[in-house]
């Protein structure tokens, strides 16, 4: 059994693409479209990596990140945040909240895989 990654992304086509490339790289991929729904699972059984969309219905990516960093069991969870908004201010905010990596959409698949590997090896 490989490492587990959770993808929180409300756009189904994007989450399908992520699931495909991660699985191909040997990951076990769980997908959630809603941050609030995912929170319970994250606390109970934290994955090895979280890929988090910024613009989400309900809880936003920032809010999810803040909650994770406040809880002991997820404080060090590697989080790759993806955003389609492209605001420089968003990156600053994400880093302040303790994001591990921050990437803007659209992304190159290879970059995502490289980042994911790097984050889990460290």
């Amino acid at each position: 059994m490989g490492k587990r990654v959770l993808v929180i992304e409300d756009e189904p086509n994007i989450s399908e693409a992520l699931r495909f490339i991660l699985r191909r790289d040997g990951w076990h991929v769980d997908v959630s479209a809603d941050g609030a729904d995912a929170m319970g699972a994250l606390r109970r059984d934290p994955p090895d990596l979280l890929i988090l969309d910024l613009m989400l219905p309900g809880l936003s990516g920032f809010e999810v990140l803040r909650v994770l960093r406040d809880a002991a069991q997820t404080r060090d969870l590697p989080v790759l945040m993806l955003t389609a908004k492209g605001h420089a201010a968003d990156r600053v905010e994400a880093e302040r909240l303790g994001v591990t990596r921050f990437m803007t959409k659209p992304f190159a698949n290879a970059e995502v895989i490289a980042a994911v590997r790097e984050m889990t090896q460290a």
Partner: protein
């Protein structure tokens, strides 16, 4: 004696007067007017009272009425001896207030009322014109006397022509010396000295004729007395009533006659002169009257029967072959007449220009523009014109009446006219309670009675008043007869007029003053006039330096500002040759400081402030009034400033609001760009990710390949639609949309929209509840755009209506030119807090991409409906989601009516 010789003598005399007058003007201008300003000259100038009427007419009067002529001299004598107090007060007030005429005096006392000034002016002109005509007549008559040869045949002389040239010459003289400059004091030394010279000439002439009559023709005073006794002079007995009346009348005249007021008050330079005049003027009058009776008696005896006694002074020496004496007598009469005309026309012209012409001119000009340039030239020109006008009036009066009435009668009529100003004048001097209304009413009543009972009847019956009216009164009311008012028939017309006009005038004046309340300025003026001797005169120059420059500097700094005040003080110090910053407190320095301060705070305030600081002058009521009016002006300025600053703060508020709006718009623009970025990047992310997958994945099932290609395809279409929507919205928002108007059936549009929207989640079965009748409305609009709106609403319903048995009700309502279409589904509807948002761009209620749109649909719908002259709105409380689309029945007609702009795109927010 030849006529030409006479004319030459006159000219020479006038040239002499010109010379004397201009010499006086020159030395006055050089400030060496010492002897000009002497009590003697003042007293002699008062002799302007003695006109041709006194010179010639008194003898005629004596020949006709005996001693009664003495009343004309007794009245003024009593005033100068007994009413000295009145005169002194009059003169003091006149000088301190720089009064220019009797009209000005009355106007000033009663609150600077121009109405009163105008009334007095009109009255004086009415009374003065015949009097001036009388002088012209006497000159013309005296010329004629000379021009008649001993055989009694009149030579070719035209009396009117003589009168005309005399009038013209006098106008020139008066203009030359009466309007030379516009001095605030209105004093004319040239005129005064000429009058004084003429006073001497006429006195000498009369005495010479008198001496001739007493000692040459008769055998001395004793002989004259016997001759007087022998003469059966008519009316020899003294009538107490008539004497009292006439003495009173002439006493009033000496104060109220415009020309007397001119020399007595206006031309007075020092009220100490009155002390001399109080005995010298009666003496002059005594000398003038001394030989009247002897000349009359001798004349009646010597001259042929039927000779005009009014001309005895001239005809007696002429008849007895004394040509030289006759010439002197002629010059005496000429002097008497001309001095009166000069001063009277000067006084009347001042009144006419100051109280009639200039106020009217200013009023007319004020309504046109507010420019107040130099008034001096205007006032001088008006005064010159007025002199010409007054003399012209006198000349016209003379030619019209032709000198019919006896000389003395005209003089007395004029006396009664000007006597009407007495109540108002005495009230001005002695009664604080006298009010403007009372004065105006009294003057009007008195003047009207004078005109009715004396002035108009004096022209003779059937000229102005018909003989019938004179006899029986107007409308047969005998108690209104001009000569018998209220049944008083025993008095002669003159006394009758004097009694009624003056007593009713005074009564109305008193009652009017009691019942009206004086205005503040009237009360201030009343205090200034009545209590003139209770305060020291306003010291307008600085005499006794008390304050130190150190005390004045802080005050000046407060007004001028620190640096400017210090610069001014040190400059003044330097001017005085001092080193350092503080000058000596000299009168010159105080004057300069006052001038400097008045530039900032106004003249009166500056004076009052310095007066307080220096402690020399009492601040007079006048000063305070001036300060008050300046303060009022400053308050008005400050009110204007306040209004300006309010306007400024309003503008600033508007700017701030505009700025806030711009910032809000900027934030909105940023948010919009961010939204667009997100909406574009999202499909691009899928496209890129799957195309990379397809490129670098070798082992891929055909199903996977088809699926991924399908996703790429769908996302490309989504991207394209988003861009289309954005462009569409931009076009709609800027009102640049091209509309294709045409008639179309509403039901057809709805059919088309339902068909088009069926593809959205085509597997769901939607029931349509429609009313074919309601929908069969012919409308004129852009069918494509309208269908786009309907499709959007129907598609949204198919996407978001969560009912198990989804249905859509379409209701059409027509209200006059307006059509409303309601689309109501049976879903959950839109939460209240979101209803306001749904028409905004990128507002997706679910935030879910499954709906497929970018959140621009309803925003586009709203823009389309605005472009179509209508609107789209959410209708709450209908069970499900309910949208109402409203639009005009005929868009082409709607667009041509101007009041429809409230629904056009430009007005949409």
């Amino acid at each position: 004696m030849s006529f030409n010789y006479l004319v030459l003598t006159c000219l020479a005399y006038v040239i002499l007067l010109f010379f004397v007058a201009s010499a006086a003007e020159r030395s006055a201008a050089r400030g060496r007017a010492g002897w000009l300003r002497s009590p003697l000259v003042y007293t002699l100038s008062l002799s302007v009272y003695c006109t041709a009427w006194t010179f010639y007419g008194a003898v005629g009067y004596a020949a006709r009425s005996g001693l009664e002529f003495m009343t004309i001299y007794l009245g003024p004598t009593l005033v100068f001896v007994g009413w000295w107090v009145i005169l002194r007060k009059l003169v003091r007030i006149g000088r301190e207030n720089r009064v220019t005429s009797i009209a000005d005096m009355i106007s000033a006392r009663y609150g600077k009322s121009n109405l009163l000034g105008a009334i007095v002016t009109l009255l004086c002109v009415a009374a003065g014109t015949p009097y001036i005509a009388l002088q012209l007549q006497s000159i013309a008559q005296s010329f004629t006397v000379f021009a008649t040869d001993p055989t009694g045949v009149e030579l070719a002389t035209d009396r009117n022509l003589i009168a005309f040239w005399v009038a013209a010459g006098l106008a020139l003289f008066t203009i030359a010396f009466g309007t030379r400059n516009l001095d605030a004091n209105e004093q004319h030394p040239g005129v005064v000295i000429a009058i004084a010279v003429e006073a001497v000439v006429k006195l000498l002439a009369l005495i010479a004729v008198g001496v001739f009559a007493v000692w040459i023709v008769a055998a001395g005073p004793g002989d004259i007395l016997t001759r007087i006794d022998a003469q059966a002079l008519p009316e020899w007995q003294i009538q107490p009533g008539r004497w009292t009346g006439l003495i009173l009348l002439s006493a009033i005249a000496i104060i109220c006659l415009p020309r007397m007021f001119q020399v007595l008050v206006v031309e007075n330079t020092n009220d100490q002169h009155l002390a001399t005049a109080s005995w010298a003027f009666p003496l002059y009058l005594f000398l003038m009257s001394l030989f009247v009776l002897p000349i009359a008696v001798v004349g009646l005896e010597v001259m042929p029967a039927g000779s005009n006694p009014d001309m005895f002074v001239l005809t007696l020496p002429l008849y007895l072959g004394q040509d030289g004496l006759a010439l002197l007598s002629f010059l005496g009469g000429f002097s008497a007449a001309t001095s009166m005309v000069i001063v009277a026309s000067l006084a009347l012209a001042t009144m006419v220009s100051n109280h009639l012409v200039v106020p009217l001119w200013l009023k007319a000009r004020a309504s046109r523009n507010r420019d107040t340039g130099d008034m001096r030239l205007l006032v001088l020109s008006v005064r010159r014109l007025s002199i010409a006008l007054v003399l012209g009036l006198g000349y016209v009066y003379y030619t019209i009446t032709g000198g019919s009435a006896a000389l003395a009668a005209i003089g007395l009529i004029a006396f009664v006219g000007v006597a009407q100003t007495l109540p108002a004048l005495l009230g001005a001097l002695f009664w604080r309670g006298a009010s403007r209304t009372g004065a105006a009413l009294g003057l009007t009543v008195g003047a009207a009675l004078w005109v009715y009972t004396l002035f108009l009847p004096s022209f003779g019956p059937d000229v102005f008043l018909s003989a019938q009216l004179m006899e029986q009164g107007p409308f047969g009311l005998s108690w209104l007869r001009p000569y018998g008012l209220f049944g008083v028939n025993t008095l002669d017309p003159l006394l009758h007029a004097l009694f009624w006009s003056l007593s009713l005038n005074a009564l109305v004046f008193c009652v009017g003053s009691f019942v009206t309340f004086p205005s503040p300025i009237e009360r201030v003026q009343a205090a200034l006039f009545v209590d003139i001797f209770d305060r020291s005169g306003p010291a307008r120059s600085w005499t006794r330096p008390v304050a130190e420059a150190e005390d004045l500097l802080p005050m000046a700094q407060r007004i001028l500002g620190v640096s400017e005040a210090q610069a001014f003080f040190s400059a003044q110090a330097e001017l005085q040759g001092k080193t350092g910053f503080l000058p000596d407190i000299t009168p010159e320095f105080l004057d300069a400081l006052e001038l400097k301060l008045s530039g900032s705070v106004g003249a009166a305030t500056a004076h009052a402030m310095l007066a307080q600081s220096v402690g020399t002058a009492v601040v007079s009521v006048e000063d305070l009034m001036a300060v008050a009016s300046e303060t009022a002006q400053i308050m008005e300025y400050s009110a204007q400033l306040e209004a300006k600053s309010e306007e400024l703060s309003r503008t600033a508020r508007k700017l701030r609001e505009a700025n806030e709006m711009l910032q809000k718009l900027s934030v909105q623009k940023d948010a919009f760009l961010s939204q667009i970025s997100h909406e574009l990047r999202t499909p691009m992310t899928s496209i890129r990710a799957f195309s990379e997958i397809m490129m670098d994945t070798d082992a891929m099932t055909p199903e996977e390949r088809t699926h991924f290609a399908q996703i790429i395809h769908d996302e490309s279409i989504r991207l394209t639609r988003l861009l289309d929507d954005l462009l569409d919205l931009s076009v709609l928002e800027h009102g640049q949309v091209q509309l294709n108007l045409g008639p179309v059936l509403l039901s057809d549009l709805i059919d088309k929209a339902i068909t088009a929207s069926n593809s959205v989640q085509g597997d769901r079965k939607f029931r349509m509840l429609r009313s074919r009748d309601g929908e069969s409305v012919q409308i004129i609009t852009d069918a494509g755009r309208m269908t786009q709106v309907f499709i959007n609403i129907l598609s949204n319903a198919r996407k978001y209506c969560i009912s198990d048995d989804p249905q859509m009700q379409i209701k059409v309502r027509r209200q006059a030119q307006l059509v409303e279409v309601d689309f109501i589904d049976n879903g959950a509807g839109i939460p209240r807090d979101k209803q306001a948002l749904i028409f905004e761009k990128f507002s997706r209620l679910t935030d879910s991409m499954q709906a497929g749109g970018a959140g621009l649909g309803l925003a586009i719908c709203r823009e389309i409906m605005h472009n179509l002259g209508g609107d789209i709105s959410y209708v709450p409380g209908q069970g499900g989601a309910a949208f109402r689309v409203s639009f005009p029945l005929d868009l082409s007609a709607h667009m041509s009516t101007p009041d429809s702009h409230d629904t056009t795109p430009a007005a949409a927010e």
